[in-house]
Amino acid sequence: MNFRCIPALVAVLALNASVLADALVIVVHPTNAIELTTDDVSRLYLGRARTFPNGESAVPINLAEGMPAREIFDQRALSRSSAQLKAYWSKLVFTGKGTPPQEADSHEEVLKLVATNPSIIGYVPASAADERVRVVLQLD
């Protein structure tokens, strides 16, 4: 047994735990003063609303499938499993009733997109959010 590995192992475990236990934050452009409930967020990400509650156009950005924060978001904001969401979207996509949100491959990409456009809404782990974006809602 190599004891020197233990701190590294502990660090890895702690990191995993922090990603899973970390709160997610819903982020928008700093100039966008909108207030949102979990329900509002859910309606935007399920394609049921195309605008923010104040009528301004809204473009949701998802994280790519398989990213830990995406799974947490699906559970906490949409209360559905990935399989349920895929079945939901396949019904809409193949009947011309909707298209799923665009996906970003990293937290940084979400932050960059949100920072450039007041219509864009995204989510990242709370620890990843910075001054380029405004946090509207925290999902614990």
Partner: protein
């Protein structure tokens, strides 16, 4: 510095046409095999033990294993022309049609505003709850929506459709109104299963509407459609017009309600529909229940068709297993009871097994 700016500007200019011609390709597939375990057939029609799993496409299982009746592949191309305009085409190849690929959907779509979208072209007729995504097995629970409900010979139309989406007092209200026609030069169900002469089936003056009400775990759908039916039969090379009594056409009126609940681990699905064809009543209903245990969803289903002469029902028991993030395995047992009056049976009693994989990409 300036050089970089120019390069960036040129880059943007070059990028734009590409972005405008953005084409999404997506698709679905179902590979399903099955066979009849036992069945009565219909002696009067010289029909061996048969399970008619898909009426409009004449998807038929018999005593030998087959992968044809329910296997299908679909590819969708959607060109996003920006500013709310898009063009969509869907090509479907089905085992029941010997994998002869055809354009089943081809339409333009334009977002008028955040609530309304206008579409024109060829689409699926949205009669029953599952009619317009009947081919996308991944999107629903069973191997196929219950055959006893989905019996009508026409399933596409060409015309105009207006879709809407509103949020009123905690309810998401969506739906569509549509009008159009379908002229099927040689209808498969009428020409090959319910008869032996080529039948040209026309549904014209189609006007219909659908309203969906969604709130949390509750989903209610109301549907109505009316049309005029015209039919021609070719006998010995001669085309003759089919008449009903002394009438050259008949009017169909279809109405239905569907209530679905997705509550916790429970899934309860139901449909109740009536087609009135010049006074003749054709009633269909379906109830299904599923219970999710992680990736597994066992389910039970009962579907019924009732009219003056044609009467049949199917009890199904099955399992859906979401074994992959893009695919589900399903296995299903179907017990069909044909209680049609003599001469009006469809395919007799049968007990069948089918299994396979649905996927989306």
């Amino acid at each position: 510095m300036k050089k970089t700016l120019i390069a960036t500007a040129t880059g943007l200019l070059l990028m734009q046409p590409l972005a405008h011609a953005n084409i999404d390709i997506s698709g679905y597939a179902s590979v399903i095999g099955g066979r009849v375990l036992s069945g009565s057939g219909v002696e009067g029609f010289d029909l061996p033990p048969t399970f008619l799993a898909n009426y409009p496409l004449v998807g038929v299982y018999e005593k030998d294993w087959t992968f044809k009746p329910d296997t299908r592949f679909g590819l969708q191309f959607r060109a996003n022309l920006m500013d709310g305009l898009s063009a969509t085409a869907q090509v479907v190849a089905r085992g029941a049609d010997d994998f002869d690929a055809r354009f089943e959907w081809a339409y333009l779509s334009y977002d008028l505003n955040e609530n309304w979208t206008l579409q024109a072209g060829k689409k699926r007729l949205p009669l029953y709850y599952y009619s317009d995504f009947f081919d996308v097995g991944y999107a629903y629970l069973w191997i196929r929506p219950p055959a006893d409900n989905y019996t009508w010979q026409i399933f596409n139309y060409t015309g105009i459709n207006a879709q809407f989406n509103y949020f009123v007092g905690d309810w998401d209200i969506s739906g569509n109104i549509y009008t159009g026609r379908e002229d099927d030069q040689e209808n498969k169900l009428l020409s090959q299963f319910f008869g032996s002469n080529p039948i040209r089936e026309i549904w014209k003056d189609i006007i219909g509407g659908v309203i969906n009400l969604n709130k949390d775990w509750l989903d209610i759908r109301l549907t109505y459609m009316t049309y005029i039916n015209e039919r021609y039969r070719t006998v010995g090379g001669v085309v003759e017009r089919v008449t009903w009594g002394d009438s050259l056409t008949r009017r169909g009126k279809f109405a239905g309600i569907s209530v679905n609940m997705d509550f916790g681990d429970w899934l309860l699905l139901s449909e109740l529909n009536r087609l009135d064809l010049d006074g003749g009543k054709f009633d269909t209903y379906m109830v299904s229940a599923g219970y999710r245990i992680n990736a597994f969803t066992p389910y039970l289903s009962y579907a019924d068709f009732d009219s003056e002469n044609e009467k049949h029902s199917t009890t199904s028991l099955g399992l859906r297993w979401d074994f992959h993030s893009n695919a589900a395995f399903k296995i299903q047992y179907d017990d069909v009871k044909d209680k049609g009056v003599p001469g009006w049976e469809v395919a007799g009693d049968s007990k069948s097994i089918s299994f396979g994989v649905d996927l989306v990409f």
